[in-house]
Symmetry: C2
Subunit: 423 residues, 2 copies
């Protein structure tokens, strides 16, 4: 019966079996110390003489668990006998037991199959798993239904630009930029409250620290709201649940990155500024007049929020119509839409959507579009659609910002960018 390394301390002076990867070998002549790594942590194994296996080999070890204050965690396995379950080639392309901060991003991503073994790097994806769970649990608790919609679509939700095309038998389809139309359809179907966790694609050529060509979108859509303020409240609730879960489940991973998730009360303090007001704040702090909120502006706005409201995040609303998609619900010359900037980066875009058919027709004409061109999307509104809205959180960006990663690609298991399509 295998014992996990984290549970060895419960078996002091008993003979146990542990299994895992050879993380570190120190041969001191008469004895050798091996640090064994499994999914639960690390454990020191003491062997007599030299060991016959390499770093990263997978071994099964029998021995006696003994208390030893000098061993990591206060316990070690003595009188150990090992069987190799799989041997590792000694020429590791990147060291698994070294400091990953000394590796370039290219070294990490080019050797992804091995760099993922580095505990600090693997921890990023333990955090990501917690985020996904907390997001889904919170919404299910609020009576949301999880949906899975097609990623192969006839046309884009935000116009035709930035789409990857797929050869589909005798025709051509595109990879969906978002489940926007589908989640609206499901709200109107009567589910009222839906969420989706799925892939989204952007065929954008820029290769920056904040862009991925394939990412995981945490999508939410809800009926019977009044304004985008209702959506911000929902997102505050989600973020509090996510931050609390990560703080509880991933204390070790946060510590490894010297990071911490915001506390609940700071989420309540996130200010809301209008788009124009946001530009004024940026202009004042940046020392020059700005006409848009660009990445540098996002950082300045978050700095302002931290200084004035004690939280490194800010909601921006009241975007002008021309800055938002055709389906954004108008409010005079502005829209009931919003972004959330967190630690200097936009992690959410959302808003109330147009739900009335005549208003949608009017909006289409303003954008130079036609009802015919929108296909079945128009059926949502033609046959009775409640007031509704929603938003999407980029999973990798949220992970990145919680942990303080330099590049969003670090938060994607197998990132896809302009040049990277493997592994």
């Amino acid at each position: 019966m295998r014992v996990l390394t984290k549970d060895a301390a419960s078996h002091i002076d008993k003979k146990i079996t542990v299994k895992g990867w050879v993380h570190r070998i120190r041969e001191l002549g008469a004895i050798s110390f091996v640090l064994l790594r499994d999914r639960s942590g690390m454990l020191q194994i003491v062997f007599n003489g030299k060991v016959g296996f390499t770093h990263e080999s997978v071994i099964s070890v029998q021995g006696t668990a003994r208390a030893n204050a000098k061993a990591p965690g206060g316990v070690e396995i003595q009188d150990a006998v090992a069987v190799a379950l799989a041997s590792a080639d000694p020429d590791l392309p990147v060291p698994v037991n070294g400091d990953p901060d000394k590796l370039s991003l290219d070294a990490v991503l080019d050797n992804r199959m091995i760099s993922l073994r580095i505990p600090k790097i693997l921890g990023i994806f333990r955090v990501q798993s917690t985020i996904v769970k907390a997001f889904a649990d919170y919404l299910r608790g609020k009576d949301f239904t999880e949906i899975k919609t097609s990623k192969l679509v006839g046309s884009g939700t935000e116009g035709g630009a930035g789409l990857f095309s797929v050869e589909y038998f005798d025709t051509k389809v595109f990879l969906a930029q978002s489940p926007q139309f589908y989640k609206q359809a499901l709200v109107a179907s009567g589910l009222e409250r839906v969420f989706e966790i799925g892939a989204a694609y952007r065929a954008e050529k820029h290769d920056t620290a904040r862009h991925l060509n394939e990412y995981v979108s945490l999508d939410v859509e809800i009926a019977f709201i009044d304004t985008e303020r209702d959506l911000m409240d929902l997102e505050r609730g989600i973020l509090k649940a996510v931050f609390a879960a990560v703080s509880k489940e991933n204390a070790g991973e946060l510590a490894a990155f010297g990071a911490c998730a915001p506390e609940s009360r700071s989420v309540d303090s996130i200010p809301v500024v209008g788009y124009d007001e946001g530009k004024d704040i940026i202009s004042e702090r940046g020392g020059r007049r700005v006409f848009d909120i660009n990445p540098e502006g996002e950082r300045l706005l978050c700095d302002w929020a931290l200084e004035k409201h004690g939280v490194d995040a800010v909601f921006v609303n009241a975007f002008p119509r021309k800055k938002r998609p055709v389906y954004a619900y108008p409010d005079g010359l502005k829209t009931m839409s919003f972004d959330l900037l967190f630690r200097g980066l936009e992690i959410t875009t959302g808003g109330r959507r147009i739900n009335e058919y005549p208003m949608m027709l009017d909006a289409l004409s303003k954008f130079g579009l036609t009802a015919e061109g929108m296909g079945a999307y128009m059926d949502i509104f033609r046959y009775g659609c409640p007031p509704h809205g929603g938003f999407a959180i980029g999973l990798e960006r949220l992970t990145q910002k919680i942990l303080g990663l330099q590049n969003v690609k670090e938060a994607s298991l197998f990132p896809r960018d302009r040049k990277r399509t493997r592994p």
Copy 2:
């Protein structure tokens, strides 16, 4: 403050507001009965005189909740005043308040935006949401980590056939048939136990009641197993959790389809038959010698299991090597692999995988493949990979078989087949 229709009975003789869709209108001259539908159910509303809205319009209703034994659910809203939030065009392409069994599959799928409103049809996706949750919760309870891997890959996991190609900037990539290689990489990374809920693609031309070109794959992979029997036990646990959750959460949906999920003890009774034994059983029951297990054979085997073991499901193992992928762990001339047939349909394929580098090289040569051609996949085995295996459950097929749907396309929100790429 809005009250859900299911909660109206808790507000008898009080003035409340309900919101939802106009499901049915019966005008009797002096009064009109309207059945209002929201995400929680239906409620009868009594209006004086005729009503000014159409079926499927979204309305907000104020009135007094009164007990009435003749009303559906024993409660209705009297003295109602309605405000239309969104009007519906009266020419519904399919009736929302009719019997969906009278509609052809094409009518249902061609008019998907509206057919999803039909409560019985929408119920399919409430069940699906429960399945996803139960699957994830069960595995998280067993210390599994949820992963999200790229769906854009350089080559296929099962050879190059059956892949959709994507124009990716200046190169070409493919839509992943499964996360097979990635989930193996994550097991070997040290997570040991991973699952993924994600899209999978098959560019297969056949258009049958059991195929989708895009489906949701519930993928599982686990380290430190001995044989495929360990995987079958894990799948039994998952299925028991899924069936129990659907029975508890979706009693209404099951009743609408006259369906029931298998009980726990029947899951324990699922027999295991070898591939050769399975062919013998099929040959005997079908009255002619078979040389493969085809769809008709799958049905005959399940009939046999129901008759002999009281459960409409059977595990088939010991497939010959040439019937399985290169990575299937050999066991003499057979492999440690298995399928699960449920109610006449294969819903799972899995098995132990080769984890030793020399054995993998040998297998590649037997299949006419080379280590170079496998790219980074080989790094998983070169640098120490534990014994492991896994399987995948098709979400739509499982949904289909729980509810007894005729066609798997009914269990996909927006199905993609040979000719269907919209909506």
